[in-house]
């Protein structure tokens, strides 16, 4: 078994900035015990979120993007999960060392979560309004029931739920998918969190409803000033929403850059492949495809996990694991990131002829 020293290397390359970031994940490692062996779901992940920033975390299923985010709020079930190492600093406070009571305080108040499936987050046998009221009263001492109810109506109106006075009295199953997602967003922003973690918030929604919810997330972010971690597999959503993008592959961060640079000039071959394989609504270009499949997370390939699928791979990639390194205002975990600087990345992966 191998372990990476990504975070330490990255820190060495990029000295601490003056201010402490709002959230800083450092060298986080999470395993899951399964019948087949130990799954290295998150393997030395480090990234930071600054105040008010929208960070898009992209990757395919099993890349560790959700597990990383769930770890922030201590939502990994242990067992089967084991958080093996690393730190999660919120305003400099290590949440891994925080008491259960302290974590409860932070959840909702400091950090709030928006899930893919609202039905997993909403209580099906409790009126929607009551759930928002509960969230409000948990974090505000002395808030009267009537005041909390008024605030719940106000919140639902803010997130665009029509007839909020009537809707607060309904149960989640009486809401459509898009409306449930709105109700969950209302709950998430109820206590004015500084950080929102949205895990595939629009994946289950139809495209016109997705557009509504993304618009709402933008508004919510603008009005509350909350930083947002937006976890998604949809590069279109990232391009429209994020300030910065963290690309994950096989439990590691492979690239971290501002959104414009990442799309214009990716500096990791996996990012190149990902961008090339996405069909675009505004173009007929044919798709490049990344050969093979993501690796078995129980037995990761030696060296760079992406090497079996990488057109740039050579001996060094099979033996030496690349660390996430600062390469001038952005980070890449590729030995040969320099070769992508000037390269015609469009033709890195085989493109089917039309």
């Amino acid at each position: 078994m191998k372990r990476r020293k990504n975070a330490r290397a990255a820190e060495a390359a990029a000295p601490e900035t003056q201010a402490v970031p709002l959230l800083s994940i450092e060298d986080l490692t999470v395993d899951f015990r399964t019948d087949d062996g130990i799954v290295h779901a998150v393997d030395g992940v480090s990234y930071a979120v600054e105040t008010g920033e929208i960070v898009g975390v992209v990757g395919e299923s099993g890349s560790g993007k959700s597990v990383t985010a769930m770890s922030v709020l201590g939502l990994i079930r242990q067992p089967p999960g084991v958080v093996r190492g690393g730190r999660i600093l919120f305003h400099g406070e290590d949440l891994r060392a925080a008491s259960a009571r302290r974590l409860r305080e932070i959840r909702g108040n400091g950090i709030a979560m928006i899930f893919q499936d609202p039905m997993t987050a909403l209580n099906p046998v409790m009126r929607v309004g009551q759930q928002i009221v509960e969230a409000l009263r948990m974090h505000t001492d002395g808030l009267s029931r009537t005041a909390a109810r008024d605030r719940a109506v106000e919140l639902l109106r803010m997130v665009g739920v029509p007839n909020p006075e009537k809707r607060v009295l309904q149960y989640p199953h009486e809401f459509s998918g898009g409306m449930r997602q709105r109700a969950m967003i209302a709950m998430a922003i109820a206590n004015g969190p500084e950080l929102l973690i949205a895990d595939e918030p629009t994946t289950a929604l139809d495209v016109t409803i997705q557009a509504q919810v993304l618009e709402l997330l933008r508004t919510a972010q603008r009005e509350t000033g909350a930083a947002t971690i937006l976890i998604t597999h949809d590069l279109g959503v990232v391009a429209e929403m994020a300030d910065r993008v963290v690309v994950m592959y096989a439990g590691r961060v492979v690239e971290d850059a501002d959104v414009t640079s990442l799309f214009a000039q990716p500096r990791h071959p996996y990012t190149v492949g990902l961008l090339g394989s996405v069909p675009r609504i505004d173009s007929d270009d044919i798709l490049a495809s990344v050969p093979g499949s993501p690796p078995n997370m129980i037995q990761l390939p030696s060296g760079c996990s992406f090497h079996p699928r990488c057109p740039l791979a050579r001996e060094r990639c099979r033996t030496e694991e690349p660390v996430l390194t600062d390469i001038g205002g952005r980070k890449s975990a590729c030995h040969f990131h320099d070769e992508l600087r000037a390269a015609d990345t469009e033709h890195l992966f085989a493109v089917e002829s039309r």
């Binding site: 395919e60 299923s61 665009g160 029509p162 007839n163 459509s176 898009g178 409306m179 139809d206 495209v207 016109t208 409803i209 997705q210 557009a211 509504q212 993304l214 618009e215 597999h233 949809d234 590069l235 279109g236 959503v237 990232v238 391009a239 429209e240 994020a242 959104v259 414009t260 799309f263 214009a264 492949g273 990902l274 961008l275 090339g276 394989s277 996405v278 069909p279 675009r280 609504i281 505004d282 173009s283 007929d284 044919i286 798709l287 490049a288 495809s289 990344v290 050969p291 499949s293 993501p294 089917e352």
Partner: protein
């Protein structure tokens, strides 16, 4: 409302393989308090289109628009409430079962979910061989045919003795594809074939499907909610809303000069993976939800979410009118043909509750 639609266009040079006429499917459901009173969901409500040999016709729309139900009626997994499905001029509903069985081989369906559509108790070989056995064609060179099919979809031959659960999503879709191809179909109905797959795998399967289509001269009915994928695979596109086709045309007609407001809204809602276009694109945000198909709006079904709706839209259901160039749309107030003319500013339609 249901006059037969024969769109010419580039694909019209090829012979017509399938024609759907006034196809309708109503599902009775129980509704209301204590399940009293019967409600009828108009899942598909008078749909007409043709599919030509070797082309890809995509059916797109949001959930509940009737695209999957239409696909299932084509392959006879569902019996239409009314209307006809003609395969090479023969009405499938009126065929004696012997003849239908022969035609079934020509029309195959591939399912969306690679995890639930393959039996966990059967080896890959048996899964792919099953249609051959059912049709009594296995005894004659079956094993060789199975290996040929695995080659065709890019799966190694030694996989044939393994079980479906040992494979990744992309590989399972290839197994499903091999099975769908076993009887040498002329046409495949693909129901969201790549929606459950990861991005990098999705591109592999899409490319594979296109290669096979060229190689075997297959026609595809491609059912998808993902307009970006649809743009990549389609010859022609039919846009559905609440059980009806609102617009149908060639790929370019739909993606470059669509005329129906719903199509425009749908296209503008798709996020583009290019951050430099973030503020440059016209954006139409539709308010509200898709109305309840058990109780659709009067007149034009899209009117409750449409920014152009007038009185006539509530009283008169617009016909799907075919233009001289084969492009057809059902709207009293269609958009002009030049793209981008819809909105210099962002349009946000009213927050009406689905009525």
């Amino acid at each position: 409302m249901t006059e037969a639609l024969t769109p010419p266009g580039p694909a019209a040079a090829a012979p017509e393989l399938l024609r759907v006429e006034a196809l309708t499917k109503h599902f009775p459901v129980r509704g209301g308090i204590l399940n009293r009173g019967r409600v009828v969901v108009h899942a598909v409500d008078g749909v007409d289109f043709s599919v030509y040999e070797g082309e890809t016709l995509s059916l797109v729309g949001e959930s509940g628009c009737g695209k999957t139900t239409t696909g299932r009626m084509i392959v006879r997994l569902l019996h239409p409430t009314s209307g006809r499905v003609l395969y090479r001029g023969e009405n499938l509903a009126a065929l004696p079962s012997r003849k239908l069985r022969r035609i079934r081989g020509d029309l195959q369906l591939m399912f969306q979910d690679p995890h639930s559509s393959l039996s966990p108790r059967m080896s890959v070989h048996d899964i792919v061989a099953e249609p051959l056995r059912v049709q009594g064609r296995y005894r004659d060179g079956g094993p060789a045919r199975v290996r040929e099919l695995l080659d065709l979809v890019g799966l190694a031959r030694h996989y044939e003795n393994r079980y479906a659960h040992e494979f990744s999503g992309g590989q399972r879709q290839r197994i499903g594809l091999a099975r769908a191809l076993a009887l040498d179909p002329r046409m495949l109905v693909l129901d969201e074939p790549v929606s459950a797959l990861d991005v990098s795998i999705r591109a592999q399967v899409v490319n594979q499907l296109r290669a096979l289509q060229r190689q075997l001269g297959l026609a595809f009915v491609f059912i998808s909610h993902d307009l970006s994928i649809v743009r990549h695979v389609s010859t022609r596109v039919a846009v559905m809303y609440l059980g009806a086709i609102v617009e149908i045309g060639t790929r370019d007609q739909i993606f470059q000069s669509s005329r129906h407001p719903y199509t425009r809204a749908l296209l503008s809602a798709v996020p583009v993976p290019d951050p430099t276009l973030r503020d440059a694109r016209d954006r139409i945000t539709l308010g509200g939800d898709v109305p309840d198909p058990a109780n659709p709006p009067s007149g034009c079904r899209f009117r409750t979410r449409c920014w152009k709706a007038q009185d006539i839209c509530a009283t008169e259901r617009p016909d799907l009118r075919t233009q001289p160039d084969g492009h057809a749309f059902a709207c009293h107030f269609p958009e002009s043909a030049t793209f981008g003319a819809v909105s210099d500013t962002m349009i946000t339609t009213g927050q009406q509750e689905g009525r």
